[in-house]
Symmetry: C2
Subunit: 213 residues, 2 copies
DNA sequence: TTTTTGTTGTGAAACTTTACACATGTCCAC
DNA sequence: GTGGACATGTGTAAAGTTTCACAACAAAAA
C-alpha cells in the first residue's frame, strides 16, 4: 500500500506504534485507545489519531483501535511487500547488540549477513547471522540482493565501507560511526550518535532542574 | 552561559557540530566555513549560520568560523559548568558499546559507574568505569551525585530500574529498551530504538528507489 | 581604484508538525 | 428513550523549523 507524502515524523511514529502494539498484544486485550498508545510513547492522543487518519485507519468509537488490524496495516504501509535484506558491517559490541536485538523481530526485514576482518568472527554464525570476510562484501551483497547496510566498524574505516556498499548497489545506509559519509542522492542515509543523545539529555535535564526548582 | 529557548533541534545540532569540529581540529586548519560544516552533517549552510546566530557567535567574513572558539562556545552553552555525572545500568553489548565509545570524549560529562547483576562483571572495571551490583545503585547514585542514567538492561527490568533511578534523584534518563517508561515531569526522558531507525531507512530507501528509477 | 568573488548575518516567507476545539457517534444508566 | 460519559475524526490555528533572498562586507583581481 502506498500513501502520498507521509510525513517523516509519522513514518517514525508508525514504527514506534507497531513496536508498542506488539508489546501489548495478547489474548485478553484486542483493542486499544488513542490515549493508551499516546501514553506509551509520551505523545498526545490527538497526535496518534492524526497519524492514523493519515494512513486511513478508522477505529471503533467505543472500543478504540483493533490492535491486530492496526499492526497489519502499519506493516502494509511501511514494509516493502517483497521484503528487504539487511547486512551489518563490523561485528563488534554495537553490531552484535543490533543483531541480537533484531533477531526474530520483523518478518519483512531479513538480517542476511555480517562482515568483519577479525578471523575469530569470520565463518561463524551469530544469532543466526553468518559472518563473512569484508572482502566478500560486494559478492554477498549482490548475490543476496541486500539493499540496506548498517555500519558499525571503527570510524576510520567507515568511508571506505560506505563506498563499497554503494558500489555494490545498496539503497539505504544506517551509519553509527561519527565519521561524515558522502553517498549519492539515491541512497538514503541515516545517522545516529549516542553521545548526541546523551548531551541532549544532559542539557534538558539541567534545564528542567532549574525550572522545577 | 544561558540562552533563552534554544530550539530542541538546535541543541541536537550543536552537539553534532562540536563532534564534527573536534574531528577536523588540527594545526593546519583553524577556521571553517558554514558550508563545510553543513556538508559534514548533510544540512544546509543557512541552517548552520542560523544556529550560530542563535547562540550569538559571529564568524570572520573572509575566513569563516574559528574552530577552537566555536567548540568552546558550544561547550559553554550545552555543557553544565559544574559538570554532570552519568551511570550505565546493564553492562551487556549495548552498555559496553556506550562506555567504550564515550571514553575520553567529554570533559564535562563523567561516566562514573555501571551496574549489573552478573557476578562476572561486578567489582571489575570496564574502560575505566567500575561496575557495581544493582543493589548498590541508590547508594552510589546519591554518594556521587549522579544525575543521568542510561538504561541498557533486558527490557523486562527497565521499569523497575527507571523507578530506582528516579527515587535516587536522577534528573535525566536515556532509555534504550523498547519498554515504555513512566517518569515524573521533572525527569527528562529520551528514548532510542535501532529498529525504528532501520525501518525508517528501509521505508525511505524503498521510496527513493522508486523515485530514482 | 573599481570590479568581482565569495562569505556572513538576518528579516521574512514557506513549510512542517503539533495542538485546539468541537462535531459526531456509541453505549450505558436511569 | 433520554442524557451523560467518553471515544473518534478533522478543520483550522498555532508553534516550531527551515529556507529564501539579499544587504553588508572583506579580500583579491583587474
Ligand atoms: N553512534 C553511536 O552511538 C556509537 C556508539 C558506540 C560506538 N560507535 C562507533 O561504532 C563503531 C563500532 O563500535 P563498537 O563498540 O562495536 O566497536 P568494536 O571495536 O567492538 O567493533 C568494531 C568491529 O569492526 C571490525 N572491523 C574493523 N575493521 C573492519 C573492516 N575494515 N571491515 C569490517 N569490519 C571491521 C572489528 O573487527 C570489530 O569487530 C566505532 O566506530 C564506534 O566509534 C558509535
Ligand atoms: N534501543 C535499541 O536500539 C536497542 C538495541 C539493542 C538492544 N536493545 C535492548 O537493550 C537491552 C540490552 O541489550 P544488550 O544487547 O546489551 O543485552 P545484553 O543481554 O548483552 O545485556 C544486558 C545486561 O543487563 C544485565 N542485567 C540483567 N538484569 C539486570 C538488572 N536487573 N540490573 C542490572 N543489570 C541487569 C545483564 O547481566 C547483562 O549484562 C535489551 O533490553 C535490548 O532489548 C535496544
Amino acid at each position: 500500500m502506498f500513501i502520498k507524502n507521509l510525513p517523516h515524523k509519522t513514518v517514525e511514529r508508525l514504527s514506534q506504534y507497531r513496536r508498542a502494539l506488539l508489546l501489548i498484544l495478547s489474548k485478553e486485550k484486542t483493542h486499544v485507545f488513542s490515549h493508551e498508545i499516546a501514553q506509551m510513547l509520551h505523545i498526545t492522543p490527538v497526535q496518534v489519531r492524526r497519524d492514523l487518519m493519515l494512513i486511513g485507519y478508522s477505529g471503533n468509537l467505543r472500543k478504540g483501535y483493533d490492535i491486530k488490524e492496526l499492526i497489519d496495516l502499519i506493516g502494509k504501509i511501511i514494509d516493502s511487500e517483497r521484503g528487504q535484506r539487511v547486512a551489518v558491517v563490523g561485528l563488534g559490541n554495537l553490531g552484535k547488540a543490533f543483531i541480537s536485538y533484531f533477531k526474530g523481530k520483523r518478518s519483512k526485514l531479513s538480517m542476511i549477513a555480517a562482515f568483519d576482518v577479525n578471523p575469530e568472527k569470520i565463518n561463524r554464525v551469530f544469532d543466526g547471522v553468518p559472518c563473512y570476510h569484508i572482502n566478500q562484501l560486494p559478492e554477498i551483497i549482490k548475490q543476496n540482493n541486500i539493499s540496506i547496510g548498517i555500519i558499525t566498524v571503527p570510524s576510520e574505516q567507515a568511508p571506505e565501507i560506505a563506498e563499497a556498499l554503494v558500489l555494490s548497489g545498496i539503497k539505504g545506509i544506517l551509519n553509527y560511526t561519527p565519521k561524515p559519509l558522502n553517498v549519492p542522492a539515491y541512497v538514503y542515509l541515516e545517522e545516529y550518535d549516542m553521545i548526541t543523545s546523551l548531551e541532549k539529555v544532559a542539557f534538558f535535564a539541567k534545564k528542567n532542574d532549574e525550572r522545577f526548582k
